[in-house]
Symmetry: C2
Subunit: 385 residues, 2 copies
């Protein structure tokens, strides 16, 4: 599988998985898109995803950022998250920090999509990504939604993936079959249409039976999207949507959703803004889970560790310092070289394993993270309004 979708050393692909043509959505789903000028160069920037089955099980995971963007608030306040038949998306404008007008605009997108698809507004999720603080050009966006509704097709997963992409260097989409079910997924990562914030979006469609999609999605998001950090910055727009028709009559194979979301999450780290290398920090022997998590994130978000990963410097002292800062006030021995495995910081591998063993208890946690290099600074600083 190493040349296929599951190419990370950190992902175990479930047995018996077969990759299909990634533009082909799972049975029962269609997608479409249009270009309305939110992005330059004619790329698809408005998209629709719809499930033709009358009955669907769905779940949404949304950012908890207190400055959540308008589409997030529409999904929270208006959408029936267990019954999402369709999603309307755009890239190029995040519709964030746009106030009441932004909320009305996101709601209008949902309404127009519902009209075009013969659905209720509560059945249409909205997701947007791109520049923030800029009003949406609603005339062209609403026209784009109608145009997208007219070109819906079962093999337009690639069109939909383009409709959510900002500066991702490569597209993130996959279609898999295993255990008699098909699952397709599209994601976009830490990109920007203009240097603003990174946003991750992910859409998953399947004909499997998923009895409690909210629980299934939570279980799969926790070890994947909730364990990655590019720059420690939670976006205003992060959204994951799972839709399951149940048409196959078969359950999701054990671990399939987890593996797909983990690979997507790692793709997002690897394709982070200016990322050259990714790391995985594994903290063991912590007093409790909260402590393990705090230490792992302190290391993953330390600019000194991130620049060492970038510069291939096996500088274990920076791991010790970041861990010590996270354990501030604790009464412990020094964290010495013998408790740290930082060799791969200095190795050629694009995915570096780093480990820290504490001697405080049995708890552990790991986090996947991006390095910090010149490309990050260039992308985020060398933009002058």
């Amino acid at each position: 599988m190493s040349d296929g979708f599951f190419r990370s050393r950190w992902v175990d692909a479930p047995r018996g998985v077969e990759e299909l043509e990634p533009a082909q959505l799972a049975p029962g789903f269609r997608a479409g898109g249009a270009h309305v000028g939110l992005k330059n160069g004619g790329a698809t920037d408005v998209g629709l995803l719809v499930c033709d089955a009358e009955r669907i099980d769905s779940a949404l995971v949304l950012t908890r950022n207190a400055s959540a963007a308008a589409p997030i608030r529409v999904c929270r306040d208006v959408v029936d998250q267990a019954n999402v038949r369709a999603a309307v998306v755009n890239s190029g404008n995040a519709n964030a920090e746009t106030g009441e007008k932004g909320f009305a605009d996101a709601l209008a997108m949902s309404e127009r999509a519902a009209d075009a698809l013969g659905l209720e507004v509560a059945q249409v999720a909205v997701a947007e990504t791109g520049v923030i603080g800029v009003p949406m050009p609603m005339g062209s966006v609403l026209q784009g939604i109608e145009a997208a509704a007219e070109n819906l097709a079962p093999d337009h997963a690639d069109v939909f993936a383009e409709a959510i992409t900002t500066t991702d260097r490569w597209r993130k989409l996959v279609t898999l079959t295993a255990g008699g079910v098909t699952l397709s997924a599209q994601a976009k990562g830490a990109g920007m249409i203009q240097p603003n914030m990174a946003t991750m979006l992910c859409f998953v469609q399947t004909d499997a039976v998923v009895k409690d999609p909210a629980a299934a999605l939570r279980r799969a998001v926790e070890p994947s999207f909730n364990r990655i950090t590019v720059d420690g910055q939670m976006s205003t727009n992060d959204t994951v949507l799972l839709q399951a028709t149940g048409a196959s009559g078969r359950p999701l194979p054990e671990g399939l959703l987890e593996a797909v979301l983990l690979q997507m999450a790692i793709e997002i780290v690897r394709d982070g803004e200016g990322t050259a290398r990714a790391g995985r920090i594994d903290v063991t022997g912590a007093a409790d889970r909260g402590e393990a998590e705090r230490v792992a994130r302190a290391i993953a978000n330390s600019p000194l560790v991130k620049t060492a990963l970038y510069g291939r410097d096996p500088n274990w002292g920076r791991i010790a310092q970041a861990a010590g800062a996270a354990l501030v006030g604790a009464d412990m021995d020094e964290i010495g070289a013998d408790s740290i495995d930082a060799d791969e910081l200095g190795a050629e591998t694009p995915e570096a394993n780093i480990a820290l063993r504490l001697h405080r208890g049995d708890a552990r946690a790991h986090v996947y993270f991006a390095d910090l290099g010149h490309e990050y600074v260039t992308l985020n600083a060398e933009y002058t309004t």
Copy 2:
């Protein structure tokens, strides 16, 4: 005063302050130094600071990093912090992550200094900065301490300042008189002898009467060194030492210690590793002090805000995003452009004021921070072991 020591727009120098020759220590203090090869190029890398008065009031503030270096542990466990007559310092080796041997080495430095000065070990503080995880070359260090003891002089504050300096671009020392007392101070900031961690050290000497030096130092450190961040990384070695002889019979003028430490703190930010610009984020209207603090630090440590400061991009959306992430889960309106003053992010000023007004209560907090630019990455990544 703008060409003098108090050159930051953020510091109000107390009235009636006069600057003296900065190499001249406050009355009753002498300093000396030696070069033993911890740093290249012949620069002074071992130093001694001693108070000749028999009686002294002193206080130490030490890093709370759980991986605290050996000299910190000696100061915690062996030194009588209220009665510190002398300090022995070195730059070029932090003596951190050096285990039991490191502790013994730091203690041996204190013992040799005590011998040379006719003091008790408990009266000699130790402070070290530089590369971590490397054993100290104790033979030459102990010889250096003896050499430093032989050239002690009241006008060697500059020698002592050099003995604590790593890659600071400019020296940080000042001697002031006000209200009948003299105060001298030397600091070093976010530098590195080899790309490791930033450490701040600061030494303050005065002939003023300071009745409760621990309380006075805490009061002055809280709004100064505890309100700065270069890269959010707490060092293993941070140390501030205040020594007061009381020989003048006069108290410290109101605000003098606070102003000196604040200017020193801002010097450390301005001279941070690869820093081009400094910012001050002021958060008002928070629900409580903890929330104000959390939001201010989230903004100050956001790499997106730091790169915007570097790139002179008045990108208020990044302030909103960082604040929203710090207020995760809160039920609040969007933080819009009208609550953020980010104009100076895009201005030419080397010290940029940024403000965020929340509408959740009356609490406020501010933090001084460094930008994040190519120089930071170069200094911290382009070092290959």
